[in-house]
Symmetry: C2
Subunit: 605 residues, 2 copies
């Protein structure tokens, strides 16, 4: 976008540091990674360079819920990110903690660092992660830190509280790390990566991957659960020491044992941390129990009997800001030019953070250029779902992405993230020529191949019966286009190709995948499209930001209060605020029509 | 040595992190690196794997002051160290800050971590670097940190003060880092590495080196000095904010400008920080001036006019412990089993720290095994010089190694560090089979080749005149052994070889180097050896640790007090305590003889 940007960080060495498990993607999260990639972000490409195990999850299910997941080598990932940051045009790095925001009236004016240095800026994006007033807990002990080994951001947290931004506390946790050499893999189940290895970035290829490693699977035992139950009286979670709420979908092992008391065993994925380290990450036993309990519980697990723990598990509590205080551009409503992205908005996960960071960055750029914000909708991107969920519903626990959060998930697939977003990215100025050329070639090849399949006809008289049986399972009774045949269940593209002797436009697997999916799911996708179109009229209807809902007749007092608190940007937002009924939405529509108060729905330049 | 060892650290990711300039070795320091290598330490080998520029300093001078120096790639160095630590037998890593020492009576009993975990141990080696009550200064601003970006060790510092260990404050500093892309190298002088590239480890070879890069040289200008002088009123050094004393031989640029007011310009080495980063280290402008002054001074330097600073320069003040409170094993006198090594003892530099760490580690192992401590003498190793200087003289400023500190520097060369120390290391149990085999092969080859050179005679009648002129510059008048001829100035080994047709024992350049040096410097070395022998009798005479010097007649009150404070371990130590005159030493010798109080001089098992 050409905007001069300064990146301020506590420590340049920790840029790209993964706080918790060394893995990128997964269901819902993988979708975000592909969207970030489609918009020119670094995450997918960095993962292709650093991933030591790649898998497609749900590969036997429909394309909507298929998702890519990779284990990353922590060191290689950090390097891949650092290299990109250092080489990013118009980006300057500077190592200094931010202690204060400069605010003039209701506008941000820059930041002040730990050393009192002042940097003026028209827009500021704050991505402080778990560092704001971070407090690490293990058992009844706790101490201030940004994460284990890093200093916390105390002064900035104080200042943000002074600015009266709506603050709360959340918590997250991480398991102890183990020395792989002290584990007995022979009693675990091996989980190799997919072969051939999938690729994350639309521009990536498998030859970029370093050496691949398997993961391993083991299980907690009843003894493990007994040890945990006996430790609960010294758990900071169960004795009320931790006030912050933790992520429901990444619960600690003590949470799992308490909440699912009937389960006799929980699965643990033993994930390598990298090619050059023996440390492994036992995914599934995040805990803040006292260290002696951690040791005992670890050693009660099959294959971990002699485990050496290299780092204790811990929980961290930190300040987050109520995201209902944000616009859908991720700008704070309270302070113009100030954007929040990542864990600070109550989410959890690298992918959620990356997606928000990208969006906030784009919108900070647009803000400075005095262009309208770009706010992808729920039907365009998981990014839209994420932001809309955050700003209309807020969070009561760390928010993570799932495919089930998306109404239009048939359209929001991993495979078409580029087709959904790269054009927008190009207009915004975040998609470079390389990506744009590759994208156009792919888009055009898909169009051309679909057109070809639609125009090549197969006739009963020319189709050999053997071929018909092999590919279609039965003879055809009248002529069909290749496209129509491809739409049949159990018929695949390779088979279709073999039915005609005109050659395909491409052998690019990305193109073939699109052609196949678009043909097979056309019906569903079109139906969803209609739904989206119907919804869009309402969805996008803007509400005036200064509307005082207590003056809107026909709304319940509760609805008036909620709407005044949230100040939704559109009818769509309003409809998703909890407690806003379809009846209240109708009242709003009537009100808009009567007062003509609606502002024009602007689009970005 | 087979001792089970636990390494506790704030942050496993920062193991092997270079706090300041990415360079290893140099005059005096290179000697320490080779000694560490000769004893099985990691520093030289890690540098061979990560060095991006290698040079021999003083290559035109005598072998005693020749020294190896390398620029390291920071990331590769950290990885090389981490890999070695992870793969070290009997070593366990654990990520936890140490907050407290457990002491029972006058014996250390273990440590307590930030989370209250207790680890019992019979010996503890403390290597807290600049972290103890670390305070970072830039201009009049300061904040607590272990170094920029890392948390300080506050609790441990409090506890050590409570234990009444003799504590003081020192300071050190570092320059701002620059983005190499913002520099104009065309106006600087290039400084390539040596070709062929030297090697650091006795077991290393140049093929281990990654891609090599040049350094660059530029200079401060009068304008730079003016800017600095105008900033002094806001310098924490010159306004008394910093109490700690800084290293005289790595002064800040403001120090240099003030102390050498007559110099119009100072040299700056522009050193790459690595292969994968654009950051560069401007060696020579360490500073804690306010950041605006830093910016101005940087930009007043030729080639830096448009420099982007990525990290500010700063000074750090930290607690150190008076090393006169240590035994020559680096065990504290006050607390049995507690060893101190590195910056905590008042030294500065990676090499000084590595040497002490190795020695303290060996002696902690010997202590636990109830074997006598190993204390190399001043005539055996720079390591001996270092420790002896520290414990007998203490420090008033951060101590760094120089060849001028060694009386016996003709014997203490880089090239013979293995011949001086590897046998001792083998007996101690720190030299592995690989190193030992290579060492024995080398040692035997040197012996064999020296013997051969001594036994092959060249006679006037058989030496062609042309050969004599070419190699020796003149004919020989009677018969000489090859060895005798090699001792002549201007005659080199290759020339000598060409005079006889018996073939050499070896073509190993390390062996040839030794043969040449031992032959050429034999006279000097023997003289030094005699001196050492004469000194040794006195040097090693032990003094009883419980001797009350106020009862020794003939000593001045001052000498009595000093000796009682220092409790020197040997006559040699006593003689080097400032204010102890040769007369006082004689009194001590008489006293020893009279009382028979001398304890036997023990040697390690
Ligand atoms: C213990 C722990 C467990 C976790 N467990 C999970 C999990 O199970 N599943 C999951 O999906 N995610 C988990 N995460 C979350 C994941 O790490 C985060 O969601 C993600 O890293 C958030 O990214 P971010 O960019 O918002 O912040 P972070 O990755 O935390 O980065 C914040 C950055 O801001 C810098 N910074 C902070 N304050 C300042 C300041 N004042 N001045 C300058 N720089 C500053 C920091 O140095 C850091 O570089 C866990 C995190 C932690 C710490
Ligand atoms: C700003 C700066 C400038 C410097 N400039 C120079 C220079 O110009 N020339 C030069 O030769 N040298 C310089 N140095 C010095 C050089 O970095 C040190 O001498 C060397 O690193 C000391 O090594 P060390 O092992 O003693 O300590 P460090 O390298 O400081 O390592 C200490 C380690 O101990 C850990 N630690 C500390 N406290 C605890 C605790 N309580 N619990 C657990 N772990 C703990 C830390 O995490 C760290 O890993 C500089 C250092 C700094 C910080």
């Amino acid at each position: 976008m050409g905007q001069k940007t300064l990146l301020l960080t506590h420590n340049i060495e920790t840029l790209g540091q993964m706080s918790c498990n060394p893995s990128i993607g997964g269901i819902g999260k993988g979708h975000l990674v592909k969207e970030v990639d489609a918009l020119g972000g670094a995450m997918a490409a960095a993962t292709d360079e650093s991933g030591i195990q790649f898998r497609i999850l749900n590969s036997s299910k429909g394309p909507a819920v298929r998702a890519t997941r990779a284990q990353a080598d922590r060191v290689l990932y950090r390097q891949a990110i650092r290299r990109r940051l250092e080489n990013q045009q118009n980006l300057w790095l500077f190592q200094q903690a931010v202690d204060d925001l400069l605010v003039t009236g209701d506008r941000v004016d820059g930041v002040k660092t730990q050393l009192g240095l002042i940097f003026h800026a028209r827009a500021v994006v704050l991505t402080a992660g778990t560092f704001l007033a971070g407090l690490v807990h293990v058992g009844q002990s706790n101490y201030q830190a940004g994460r284990a080994g890093d200093p916390p951001a105390i002064s900035l947290a104080h200042r943000l509280r002074e600015l009266k931004l709506p603050v709360g506390r959340l918590k997250t946790g991480t398991p102890p790390r183990l020395d792989g050499r002290s584990l007995d893999y022979s009693v675990m189940e091996i989980q190799p990566g997919d072969d051939p290895a999938p690729v994350f970035s639309f521009l990536g290829n498998a030859s970029q991957h370093p050496h691949q490693l398997p993961c391993w699977i083991t299980h907690t035992s009843e003894e493990t659960h007994e040890i945990i139950r006996n430790g609960l009286d010294r758990s900071p979670l169960y004795t009320g020491v931790i006030a912050g709420v933790g992520p429901r979908y990444c619960p600690s092992i003590e949470d799992k044992v308490v909440r699912f008391a009937e389960k006799l065993s929980h699965q643990i994925f033993v994930e390598p941390e990298g090619l050059t380290t023996h440390e492994v990450y036992p995914n599934g036993i995040s805990t803040s129990l006292p260290f002696d309990v951690q040791m005992a519980l670890v050693r009660s697990i099959k294959g971990f009997e002699k485990a050496h723990v290299t780092r204790p598990g811990y929980a961290i509590e930190y300040d987050y800001f109520d995201p209902t205080g944000l616009k859908s551009s991720l700008e704070t409503r309270a302070i113009q030019g100030l954007f929040f992205a990542g864990q600070i908005n109550g989410t959890t996960g690298y992918e959620e953070a990356a997606a928000q960071g990208l969006l906030a960055g784009i919108n900070a750029g647009l803000y400075v250029q005095e262009r309208t914000a770009w706010c992808p909708q729920r039907n365009e991107a998981y990014l839209g779902v994420l932001v809309d969920d955050l700003i209309t519903r807020g969070v009561t626990e760390p928010y993570r992405m799932f495919t089930s959060r998306a109404e239009y998930r048939l359209s929001l697939r991993e495979d078409n993230a580029d087709l959904r977003l790269t054009e927008a990215g190009r207009r915004l100025g975040v998609v470079d020529d390389l990506r744009w050329d590759a994208f156009m070639r792919k888009r055009d090849a898909i169009e051309a191949e679909l057109a070809r399949l639609r125009s090549v006809w197969v006739r009963p008289e020319t189709l050999a019966e053997a071929d018909a049986l092999r590919v279609l399972g039965k003879p055809i009774e009248h002529e069909y286009s290749l496209y129509e045949l491809l739409r049949r269940p159990d018929v695949d593209y390779a088979g279709i190709l073999s039915l005609s002797d005109t050659s395909a436009v491409t052998n690019d697997p990305q193109v073939i995948e699109q052609v196949e999916i678009q043909a097979k799911y056309q019906g569903y996708i079109e139906r969803q499209h209609d739904e989206i179109e119907r919804g869009r009229a309402l969805e996008g209807r803007p509400l005036p930001p200064d509307l005082d809902y207590s003056t809107v007749h026909g709304l319940s007092v509760e609805a008036q209060q909620k709407l005044n608190r949230h100040k939704p940007e559109t009818i769509g937002h309003a409809s998703r605020i909890s407690g806003i009924t379809p009846a209240a939405v109708s009242v709003l529509l009537v009100h808009l029509k009567r007062t003509g108060a609606s502002i024009k729905h602007k689009n970005y330049a």
